[in-house]
């Protein structure tokens, strides 16, 4: 997902620090909008996003790949305040959740 004209950062390069965020959220039509909107209006680009329902389908797991810049701590706090977000966790080591997807994205 790109934030279009709000985008303030260069595309991600291998050397950039990245962070992977793991969220557990309610599964209903407005949730993605709440989360993506929070990043978009702070011109914080989300480089990659994955979302699937978990358990009975009442909740979803969302994985986000983002730049780890100085605003990330504040972003995590703000995401954590959303009513539909049950938990947010930052993975310091790359959990490789996005790695195996690369074959679907070859140009």
């Amino acid at each position: 997902m790109s934030t279009g004209t709000l985008k303030s950062h260069k595309p991600m390069h291998a050397r950039d620090a990245q962070a992977v965020l793991e969220l557990t959220v309610n599964n209903h039509p407005g949730v993605m909008s709440h989360i993506c909107g929070l990043f978009a209006r702070r011109s914080y680009n989300v480089e990659a996003i994955l979302c699937l329902p978990i358990g009975s389908g009442a909740q979803s797991r969302i994985w986000l790949l983002v730049h780890a810049d100085h605003r990330l701590e504040q972003m995590i706090k703000q995401v954590g305040k959303l009513e539909d977000v049950h938990s947010i966790q930052r993975h310091s080591a790359n959990p490789e959740v996005f790695v195996h997807l690369e074959k679907f994205f070859r140009t």
């Binding site: 039509p29 407005g30 709440h34 701590e73 504040q74 706090k77 954590g80 305040k81 009513e83 539909d84």
Partner: protein, 562 residues
């Protein structure tokens, strides 16, 4: 039980002890209005614009601290509400907005008066709901009240499609109403660390914001200032946390503070930031704010800690709970040297209240008004010069006495907020300080004020311009006055009368004080017209983006009267 969604909403609102709802009916919320018409417990106040309804609800919520409700229809009804919702978000006001929406099957078809209310309200609400069936209402309505009033308060929007309002639901038990969750207390280890910092500081200052008011912590904050000999400054939203004339109060800080207040902050070695968010109008250039101080930051919102300034000790918790735990750990001390230093600063750099005796001049008008009222009176303001003058000198002495649009700075806030405050406290006098620019932005609510016979006194400082814009153009844009001086002069006296409202003109009377007294002491709404000069300025002033130490003017009487 078998009820429609609309009947269900009204009953659930009654269970939440709602007695007044401001709003405007329209196509998509007519079922809701039909159900409301059958309620014996809820009175409806018909606003003349949905933004007015939003601010009337805000006035109720700001005056008594409880969530207040407003209604609007779909499309333009909902979009008209948005400014009042954004305002509530910025100032953490608990508001429940219930909007009608086109029938579920028509959502996404560009139906008449369809707009994406849910999407539009995401960034300006604490939370929002699009209700998909009547049974969801049993959960959503109490949830909305719980969310609006818990933790850091805020607005919640509930969008209800018309078919959901009409849907009949068979159910057996009513849900429990939604009340605020217990407030988090703050970590003991952090509170102890804060106490140690306070006990060992030489030059501490309490920096009190709207969070102190919301938490009901004003008496505790005052007690802390007294016990430990700590000067207390307040933000625009925090006025009333400590009485303005209390020996430890040092007034409002920031862009239009008295010089001594900002200079004292410059000199402090410990800043006890309580229920504040380090707003730029309070801090000036953040990097230069309190350059010599360690910071203790107490706030219920974890997102505020370290957001603008890094806290030496950050305490996430309810301000009242934290101060109650902190007080016994804080040593009683006179701190004479520091208080003397602050007094010396105050003596050398006071606020120059020129014209304090003359009700035809801004400070005089505000102070004479105050002298005619007791502390039960509620003061609302609009946004601009009159707001800053009133914030500087009105002797606010209790929490929730002072209602103003702080974060969003919404012109047009004052009149409907005053109506709301008067509805919440019908026996009290509510004064709305306004300007001609601001008043015109929600002028239609004069009709609501007259219809409701509320005890609202509008004091209109009329300089026929957008005064604060005029001031900035004069000071910072080479005196190129553009689009801030009105070319047409509105006859506000005739306008008020055309709405059926009594109007008094302080320019047309030999004894303006007596006229003011008569206006304030006559029951019912009125407009008090007070022409002021366009050359009058709010001083001192920190230029936008500058450090608070870089105040211009205000070290003498710059407005030229005595």
């Amino acid at each position: 039980m078998r009820l429609t969604g609309a009947q269900l909403i009204i009953h659930l609102l009654e269970c939440q002890e709602i007695t007044t709802i401001a709003g405007i009916p329209g196509g998509a919320n007519l079922p809701l209005y039909d159900a409301l018409s059958q309620s014996h417990k809820i009175r409806h106040v018909l606003a003349r614009h949905e933004q007015g309804a939003g601010f009337i609800a805000q006035g109720m919520a700001r005056a008594n601290g409880k969530p207040a409700v407003c209604f609007a229809t779909s499309g333009p009804g909902a979009t008209n509400l948005l400014t009042a919702i954004a305002d509530a978000k910025m100032d953490s006001i608990p508001l429940i907005c219930i909007t009608g929406q086109v029938p579920t099957a028509m959502i996404g078809t560009d139906a008449f008066q369809e707009v994406d209310t849910y999407g539009l309200s995401i960034p300006i609400t604490k939370h929002n709901f699009l209700v998909r069936s009547a049974d969801e209402l049993l959960k959503v309505i109490p949830e909305a009240f719980r969310i609006a009033a818990s933790g850091r308060p805020g607005p919640v929007l509930i969008d209800v499609p018309k078919d959901v309002q009409n849907q009949r639901l068979e159910f057996h038990t009513w849900p429990e109403p939604g009340w605020p969750e217990p407030a988090p207390a703050g970590a003991t280890v952090d509170i102890e660390a804060a106490a140690t910092l306070i006990n060992t500081a030489a030059r501490p200052i309490l920096y009190l914001g709207g969070g102190v008011i919301h938490a009901g912590a004003a008496p505790l904050a005052t007690r802390l200032a007294e016990k430990a000999g700590i000067p207390a400054t307040m933000t625009l939203m925090g006025l009333g946390a400590v009485p303005m004339d209390h020996p430890r109060a040092i007034g409002m800080l920031g862009m239009h503070a008295a010089r001594y207040t900002n200079l004292a902050l410059e000199a402090c070695d410990l800043l006890i930031a309580t229920g504040v968010r380090f707003d730029d109008r309070a801090t000036g250039k953040a990097a230069a704010f309190c350059p010599n101080a360690r910071i203790v930051h107490i706030d219920i919102d974890p997102g505020e800690i370290d957001k603008i300034k890094t806290a030496y000790v950050g305490i996430v918790g309810d301000v009242r709970e934290v101060l109650a735990a902190l007080l016994p750990l804080v040593e009683e001390q006179p701190r004479a040297a520091w208080l003397e230093q602050v007094e010396a600063l105050q003596a050398r750099y006071p606020l120059h209240m020129s014209g304090a005796d003359d009700p035809r001049l801004p400070y005089g008008l505000i102070l004479q008004t105050a002298s005619l009222l007791d502390d039960d009176a509620i003061i609302t303001t609009d946004v601009g010069q009159h707001q800053m003058w009133a914030a500087q000198v009105y002797p606010v002495r209790r929490p929730r006495q002072w209602l103003t649009s702080g974060g969003l700075g919404t012109m047009g806030f004052g009149l409907p907020a005053a109506i709301g405050a008067a509805l919440a406290y019908p026996a009290r006098t509510v004064v709305c300080f306004s300007g001609d620019g601001s008043l015109l932005m929600n002028i239609q609510e004069l009709a609501t004020a007259v219809e409701e016979e509320v005890h609202v006194k509008i004091i209109l400082m009329n300089n026929n311009s957008l005064g604060l814009v005029h001031q900035q153009q004069e000071l910072f844009y080479g005196r190129r006055i553009f689009a801030s001086d009105y070319q047409t002069r509105v006859d506000f006296m005739t306008m008020a009368k055309s709405f059926g409202m009594t109007a008094y003109d302080l320019a047309a009377t030999a004894d303006p004080y007596a006229t003011l007294a008569q206006a304030l002491h006559t029951p019912g709404p009125c407009l008090i017209h007070a022409p002021i000069g366009v050359q009058e300025k709010v001083y001192p002033m920190v230029p936008p983006g500058a450090a608070n130490s870089e105040m211009i003017a205000g070290d003498a009487d710059v407005n030229g009267h005595t």
